[in-house]
């Protein structure tokens, strides 16, 4: 049991409670989203002691040094003095929907135009806010250009609150509120010859699309291997676009994978990460991007590492959905 001090008030955390749990239980309003230590909605800072390392995973080095941490995954190990981010540090952007198009039966492409200039790296994500405050993270599927546009691929989950609202109610012309772009799963310029392995399942293709077009735009010379997986052929999308890209760029390889029983011409049978990791012998010196289903991401991280990739070269966005018991 640790004592948490915030703005002069002290709260005692119960065993197995995160900092976010404690503060919410004490009726302190803290913005929060994924509750998995990813979306950074509940980011705060420890003023006195370094927070547990596990609560800082995914933050950049500057944030780590400044003792920022995710309150939702921070199980305090000692007493902590907390500071919330200043409201001016939280930037919100307003955007208007300019395109909406179904890519598969359950994945919709949404393109928005932001009313302010936007800097981001292809592959980062933003938190989208509905008017009532409901917040979810979505990856950016395009690369930065002068038009201040962002593209998202949003998959409808059965009974999912946000995704169903996007599919059923959001229309061209609607406005949306966005957080600033976040996350470190993006293309890095400066090592153009490094081979890249990208594995995505479902709408996990979104950030990978952005990363690939950014890499090709920046004349990446190393090989780029994309493996996109779905259980059913109707779940694969942008297949023609990716094939065309592979014809145009000799260093880009595209392998659509189907994990179900159906065999379809020009696809490989098997789960995308199994196919990818059995195709590529050694990942020493590679950069690896993993996006989509959390189990796929976690499993592949370990396999990629054991195949020789170094931890700092493995970038991942697990599309965690909020589990029912944290609601």
């Amino acid at each position: 049991m640790s004592k948490l001090t915030l703005n002069g008030a002290t709260f005692t955390s119960q065993p197995n409670e995160t900092v976010l749990d404690t503060l919410l239980r004490e009726n302190i309003q803290i913005p929060n989203g994924c509750r998995q230590g990813i979306c950074q909605s509940c980011l705060m800072r420890s003023v006195d002691v370094p927070p547990p390392v596990s609560a800082q995973v995914g933050l950049n080095q500057t944030q780590q040094k400044q003792n920022y941490f995710h309150a939702c995954v921070c199980y305090p190990e000692q007493d902590m003095m907390l500071a919330l981010l200043e409201s001016e540090q939280t930037i919100f952007i307003t955007a208007r929907v300019i395109q909406k198009q179904l890519l598969t039966v359950d994945i919709v492409r949404v393109v928005v135009e932001c009313d302010t200039e936007l800097t981001f790296f292809a592959g980062q994500f933003v938190n989208l806010l509905r008017d009532d405050g409901l917040t979810r993270s979505y990856s950016i599927a395009n690369r930065p250009q002068a038009d201040n546009r962002l593209e998202f691929h949003i998959r409808r989950l059965p009974n999912g609150q946000f995704s169903n609202w996007v599919h059923d109610e959001l229309v061209v012309g609607s406005t949306l509120t966005l957080s600033e772009p976040k996350g470190s799963c993006h293309y890095l310029s400066g090592s153009e010859a490094q081979p890249l392995l990208l594995i995505g399942t479902g709408s996990g293709l979104a950030p990978l699309c952005g990363i690939i077009s950014d890499a090709l735009e920046q004349s990446h010379s190393g090989d780029i291997h994309l493996f996109h997986g779905s259980s059913h052929h109707k779940g694969l999308y942008l297949v023609d676009e990716m094939r065309e890209l592979a014809t145009k760029h000799t260093n880009f390889y595209y392998t659509p994978c189907l994990s179900g029983d159906n065999v379809i011409a020009d696809t490989v049978q098997g789960r995308a990460h199994d196919v990818a990791l059995s195709t590529i012998e050694n990942l020493k010196g590679w950069r690896v991007y993993l996006c989509g289903h959390p189990d796929m991401v976690n499993h592949s991280k370990r396999l990629a590492y054991l195949k020789g990739a170094s931890i700092k070269d493995i970038y991942a966005d697990a599309f965690h959905v909020i589990s029912p018991d944290t609601k």
């Binding site: 390392v53 596990s54 995914g58 190990e77 991280k301 370990r302 590492y305 054991l306 931890i311």
Partner: protein, 130 residues
């Protein structure tokens, strides 16, 4: 041999091993060994790899005689859940084997390996909650 010891007597174990850079090299080899060993990798199944690697680094820094803030109490609390999962002396022995094999791979002289092993060994009772 005695000559080596004379010239290095004033240098700390950590510096003799090569400091922080040596820890990084060792973590990479050590963590791969631990993760690919089916006898113990179930203890590493559920937590995040970056966080785990950071913990391995803190552990090796301590075993290398470097700056650390490890306490026996922390060791006990963080390993209690693994003890519940069945962590015992045989698993600790396996980790010790991987540690010495890692250092041998990095061509660390046997005398220094013995010193590192002795420090790591000193955490046994805390880690196993004895």
């Amino acid at each position: 041999m005695s000559e080596v010891q004379d010239t290095t007597a004033a240098t700390s174990l950590f510096d003799q091993l090569g400091g922080a850079a040596a820890v990084d090299a060792a973590v990479d080899i050590f963590y791969r060994k631990v993760l690919s060993d089916y006898r113990i990798n179930r203890f590493f199944d559920h937590s995040d790899m970056e966080a785990q690697a950071a913990k391995q680094k803190a552990f090796l820094t301590m075993a290398f005689g470097g700056p650390n803030n490890y306490t026996g109490k922390d060791m006990r609390t963080t390993h209690a859940k693994f003890v519940k999962m069945g962590l015992n002396a045989s698993h600790f022995d396996i980790v010790m084997e991987h540690l010495t094999a890692t250092l041998a791979e990095l061509s660390v002289p046997p005398a220094l390996i013995a010193q590192v092993a002795a420090i790591a060994e000193s955490t046994r009772t805390d880690i196993l909650g004895k």
